[in-house]
């Protein structure tokens, strides 16, 4: 089946796949050929594409959603970075900054939520880069 990973800055993947593992908000799940039509929200997490050539491509996804229909899987992610393109050192540095930023918003719920999400995205990228 075909898979497309689209982001606001451009398409990240386009091709024939055997399956895709995605981080749904209600839990991770895998999509194989013949899946029922589905629209699902995606959490910040790891996305794994198993290509028709039996390769595994891993992406760090920062939230989004997916539409599965007629053997086409379309993933719209706000951000989808291939694991080999993640600069772990830069992300670690960003993690420190983000943790400091989070500490600043102890009393401000809106700022705290936003800072938390930022930190979650960075941690996810670091985790995925280890793959």
């Amino acid at each position: 089946m075909k898979a497309h990973i689209l982001t606001p800055v451009g398409p990240v993947f386009d091709g024939e796949v055997e399956g895709v593992q995605m981080p749904g908000v209600n839990g991770g799940f895998e999509v194989l050929k013949g899946h029922a039509p589905l629209v699902s929200l995606l959490d910040i997490g790891k996305l794994v594409v198993k290509t028709a050539d039996h390769e595994q491509l891993v992406f760090a996804v920062s939230g989004g959603f997916t539409e599965i229909s007629e053997d086409v899987v379309t993933i719209l992610a706000e951000e989808a970075i291939p694991s080999d393109k993640i600069d772990r050192e830069a992300e670690e540095r960003q993690r420190e900054e983000a943790e400091a930023e989070l500490a600043k918003h102890l009393l401000d719920t809106e700022g705290h939520k936003a800072a938390e999400i930022e930190l979650k995205k960075i941690k996810n990228r670091i985790k995925v880069s280890r793959n």
């Binding site: 497309h4 689209l6 982001t7 606001p8 800055v9 451009g10 398409p11 749904g24 908000v25 209600n26 029922a36 039509p37 589905l38 629209v39 699902s40 929200l41 959603f65 539409e67 229909s69 007629e70 379309t74 719209l76 706000e78 809106e110 936003a114």
Partner: protein, 308 residues
């Protein structure tokens, strides 16, 4: 009669100016190409997002605070996208005039009762509206220098939250749309409240079917989708995303339009400089020949006087 040296200096000065305008044109051309690439990159995402939102909003049981429309809108927020730098022809003034016209046609009362607010993107925008004492509550300078999708969140999330808290009844976005290098379309779009209208498109109409996606031809009501979580929850995520993407697209369009306008303006300037240089060179040659003639006639009359 102009001094030979003066004319020569002027020619040199205009040639320098011409080099600068020519360089500015080429830089703008390169930036325009990149901007167009970015716009094209965003299209598949945007099309798909629109399609899914349309499908969701067709279901009669979904509702969302972002659809809320007031009968008599009181608090209006106007976002205006101009440029940071000048030398881009009528790019800014044409847009600002359209914005002012809109204010005087639709928002005179709001202006009087101080319920109209504006946010200016770009130094030229801020300078214009602040000087004319419009109610500018915030401005972003240098916004277009490092356009990144992440920055959109920073701007729009707060506005969306304020809309939900009823701080705004309507939010408009004014920007230049890139039609071609010589033509920019001025657009004023209402981005909040969102209209639960399935024909709504995020992508400007001139874009055409660039994404190669046959979604528009597929009958959306054919397939019965499972939704996880509930459609209401999904829409809660998708609608702010849709607004963010509208803003992102407008920013890309505005940036591209600015580069196009600057290319055209600098192209004209370069050509004009060329005309001035030709003109001056003509004058220079005439002055040079006149000087030679004067010198010769002085020599001749001097020689004649001696021979008498």
């Amino acid at each position: 009669m102009a001094n030979l040296r003066d004319i020569r200096d002027r020619i040199s000065s205009v040639k320098n100016t011409q080099q600068i305008t020519r360089a500015m044109k080429m830089v703008a051309a390169a930036r325009l190409r990149k901007a167009q690439d970015r716009m094209n990159d965003a299209r598949p995402y945007t099309h798909k997002l629109d399609e899914i939102i349309a499908r969701l909003t067709r279901r009669t049981e979904v509702d969302n605070p972002l659809f809320k429309s007031a009968e008599k809108p009181k608090n209006i927020l106007l976002l205006v996208m101009g440029s940071d730098r000048g030398l881009c022809g009528g790019f800014n003034t044409n847009l600002f005039r359209v914005v002012e016209k809109k204010i005087y046609e639709d928002f005179t009362e709001h202006l009087e009762h101080e319920t109209l607010s504006m946010i200016c993107f770009g130094k030229k925008t801020h300078d214009y509206f602040r000087a004319r004492k419009y109610p500018v509550i915030d401005h972003k300078i240098g916004f277009f220098d490092h356009l990144k999708y992440e920055h959109v969140h920073e701007v729009m999330n707060r506005i969306i939250a304020q809309f939900k808290e009823d701080s705004w009844d309507e939010v408009y976005l004014a920007y230049n749309e890139f039609k071609s290098v010589i033509a920019q379309n001025r657009k004023i779009v209402k981005i909040l409240p969102v209209s639960p209208d399935t024909e709504k498109k995020t992508v400007p109409s001139h874009a055409g079917e660039a994404s190669g996606n046959n979604a528009a031809k597929k009958d959306l009501s054919d397939i019965d989708y499972l939704y996880e979580p509930k459609p209401d929850t999904i829409l809660e995520y998708l609608l702010p995303l849709h607004i963010n993407i509208q803003f992102w697209q407008a920013a890309l369009e505005s940036f591209a339009a600015e580069q196009g306008a600057r290319m055209t303006a600098m192209d004209s300037a370069t050509e004009n400089a060329g005309d001035i240089i030709s003109d001056l060179q003509l004058k220079y040659n005439q002055a040079r020949q006149a000087a030679i003639t004067t010198e010769i006639s002085e020599i001749v009359s001097g020689a004649e006087a001696l021979s008498e």
